[in-house]
């Protein structure tokens, strides 16, 4: 079972994963599930009305705007990094938080490495399934390495220009 790390109130913690990440051809199971965008669009009404917590997996090529009207009934959105070098999911997460106002869990799936922790947290990810065996402590260290940041982003860190004005 892959490790899940969650960022809650500024702390990275190993967490139990309540969600089942379902492939498109996998049989539906009880409890919270994560589905592809395609499957979610086909089965959403039945799933959500049953009072179940649902998350959607977004491939790097899929537009987050396609989920805009469904966001209020989603517990989780999981942008996928097909390779760590593929940075499209950073834009997806940023738009989810800053433009679409999503307040649920934003989970990083795929080629998720501790070296990206800083960038992911700043773009609004708050849960991570690392592919490199890294621990919550590793993530805490990697994400907290810089005492200052230069840009406003989806996290609540004050950028340099705000610090300077204080």
């Amino acid at each position: 079972m892959p490790t899940l790390i969650r960022l809650i109130d500024g702390r990275f913690e190993a967490a139990e994963d309540r969600f089942t990440d379902l492939a498109d051809d996998a049989e539906l199971v009880a409890g919270p599930v994560i589905l592809s965008l395609t499957r979610f669009q086909a089965e959403s009404d039945a799933l959500v009305t049953a009072g179940r917590q649902v998350g959607v997996r977004l491939a790097a090529s899929e537009a987050v705007e396609d989920l805009a009207y469904d966001l209020p009934r989603l517990a989780l959105v999981a942008p996928v990094f097909p390779k760590f070098r593929d940075g499209r999911a950073f834009t997806t997460a940023t738009l989810l938080r800053q433009r679409l106002g999503f307040t649920g869990e934003v989970r990083a799936l795929g080629d998720v490495l501790r070296e990206q922790a800083f960038f992911m947290v700043r773009c609004g990810f708050d849960s991570f399934v690392p592919a490199d065996g890294s621990t919550a402590e590793d993530w805490s260290r990697a994400a907290g390495r810089f005492r200052h940041v230069y840009q406003r982003a989806a996290d609540d860190r004050a950028p340099a220009f705000v610090e300077r004005a204080q």
Binding site: G87, R145, F146, H148, Y150, F161, A165
Partner: protein, 551 residues
């Protein structure tokens, strides 16, 4: 110079500490080379043919004397006594040992320098006009906006894993000394008719295997909206740039495939959705402008009789004044270009001794300001006319007084097969052979402005696509051959060079260039540069001159 504050310094210290940890993990075997590679590249550390190469950023080409001395110290302590200034105003150290890299980054950080984003698929060091703040023809000082972009782009959370590298150049002057039109984004600072400061935004230029001249997607972007508009461009690119083929991943391919109009429409649509909260507050813009230490120019006469009489009896000085000294915005001052192109030199290389000398002269005579140029030279932007003879003397003592700026021997060349793991052919010896052929400075001056640019492979780091004469090294069955092209320009009149004909063996290149020059001299009409004559007369006379014997 922009003065770093505690925040900027903490940032560099944190970055150096992070890299020290990563190197320790690599040396302890906790990271494989595959895992370590992206981490070292994010800090400008490449593995080249013979050794690690460290590329250090010179943000927008501006250096203080103490920073130049830091480079000299690095060259002496951890390298073989020299460094190489690149076409992106950076400096490369070619013989670095991995275990020393953390100490080098610490030393750099102590002098407000770093290697952040000098590699990788991120927003690279922003480049700018080496005459910024000194030339009379600029609408605004582009360094202010370069610094705004430096901060915005540093570890940008959303745009650090782009489809491919991303290069931005800014000029405040219509005379473009930044090659803005062959950058991913080129910005020209300009005032609108109503006086409002803004940018012409050009996108999708570039060289490499598919060269393009950038297209203008906005004639006048209000200056205060710069960052939100850049965000919009980068966001469209990050989402839609190709990631399936490294050779089609630059923004130029996206702009070309969508068309500039459609690309601009998508950027505008994205921009409209993000409000001005994505822009930098005016207070911070004002702070950054203020953090550039003001320069106390003196009121001086516009001419120096002492200089004129010294030049009358010193041909070398007179030639230096003609070629390497440019007009300054203030009377009594001049801009001095320092050619890193003396006969036998490797274009862009400077020894530790030379760096120290430039630092000393900048401190004593140059108001503490030094610039690197994309043409691989250095600049002292503020020198009094009355100090020019002393500066020339000081430069000449260390082999830096060579008066060939913009002449045929002022050649851009990439490191080529002498250093680079990507190269197909050597570039440096070809540059040296051409420079030697035109070592007669009377002849070179008669030829006038002629920009030769040499790349050792199709990646075009030596800018051959925008050379008046471009030279591209190719590999023909294990032999180094060179393809010549004519008519390129990276300046405000940007154009892409066209191939002259079949590639030539290495020992035929200088001869061919000689014939091209003789053809030009025979054809030129009053005041024409080589480029102008080529544009008027076309390829044929040049082609005949070089390939006549082949028939």
């Amino acid at each position: 110079m922009y003065r770093y504050d505690a925040i900027d310094r903490d940032f560099l210290a944190d970055r150096a500490a992070e890299f020290r940890g990563q190197v320790a993990r690599r040396l302890a075997g906790e990271l494989t080379e595959d895992q370590f590679k992206p981490l070292r590249l994010m800090n400008g550390l490449y593995l080249q043919l013979h050794a690690y190469m460290l590329r250090v950023a010179v943000p927008y080409g501006a250096l203080s004397p103490s920073q130049m001395r830091a480079f000299a110290h690095i060259a002496r302590t951890w390298d073989k006594g020299y460094g190489h200034f690149t076409t992106r105003q950076n400096i490369q150290f070619n013989w670095v040992r991995l275990g020393d890299a953390p100490d080098i980054l610490d030393h750099l950080a102590r002098h407000d320098l770093h290697a952040i984003q000098t590699s990788g698929n991120c927003i690279r060091n922003v480049t700018s006009d080496p005459y910024a703040g000194a030339t009379a023809d600029e609408a605004d000082d582009p360094r202010v906006w370069s610094e705004v972009i430096r901060q915005w782009s540093t570890l940008h959370p959303e745009f650090s894993f782009l489809p491919r590298k991303f290069k931005i150049a800014i000029t405040g002057s219509e005379a473009d000394r930044t090659a803005a039109k062959v950058h991913d984004i080129g910005l020209v600072v300009r005032r609108a008719e109503d006086g409002e400061l803004g940018f012409e935004v050009m996108v999708g230029g570039g060289q490499g295997r598919t060269p393009y001249i950038a297209r203008t997607i906005r004639q006048h972007l209000p200056a205060s909206r710069l960052l939100s508009y850049l965000d919009a461009i980068l966001r469209v690119y990050n989402r839609h740039g190709r990631r399936d083929n490294i050779y089609k991943a630059r923004i130029k391919i996206l702009v070309a495939s969508l068309g500039a109009e459609e690309f601009a429409r998508q950027v505008d649509e994205e921009w409209a959705r993000s409000g001005p909260e994505a822009d930098l507050p005016d207070t911070e813009l004002a702070r950054i402008r203020g953090a550039f230490a003001p320069i106390a120019f003196e009121a001086l006469p516009a001419r120096s009789e002492a200089l004129e009489s010294a030049a009358a009896s010193d041909r070398g000085l007179a030639r230096f004044l003609r070629n390497n000294v440019k007009a300054h915005k203030r009377p009594g001052y001049a801009i001095v270009e320092i050619a890193l192109k003396a006969p036998g030199a490797t274009p862009g290389d400077a020894s530790a001794e030379q760096m120290d000398r430039v630092a000393d002269l900048a401190e004593r005579y140059g108001l503490g300001d030094i610039r690197a140029t994309h043409e691989q030279n250095l600049v002292l932007p503020h020198v009094k006319l009355t100090d020019l003879a002393a500066v020339y003397q000081g430069l000449s003592e260390v082999g830096l007084g060579y008066p060939n700026i913009n002449l045929i021997s002022d050649i851009i060349a990439c490191p080529g097969l002498d250093y680079c793991a990507l190269a197909n052919a050597r570039a440096i010896p070809v540059a040296q052979a051409i420079a030697e052929r035109f070592a007669d400075l009377d002849r070179a001056e008669n030829v006038g402005e002629l920009k030769v640019k040499i790349s050792g492979c199709i990646n075009a780091c030596g800018h051959h696509h925008v050379g008046h004469i471009g030279v591209l090294g190719v590999d023909k069955k294990g032999e180094e051959y060179y393809q010549l092209s004519l008519g390129g320009s990276g300046a405000q009149d940007a154009s892409l060079a066209q191939i002259l004909g079949p590639a030539l063996p290495a020992d035929a290149v200088a001869d061919a260039v000689d014939r091209l020059v003789e053809t030009y001299l025979a054809l030129r009409q009053d005041g024409e540069r080589f480029l102008d004559t080529y544009r008027r007369a076309g390829m044929n006379p040049f082609k005949e001159a070089v390939y006549a014997d082949a028939h």
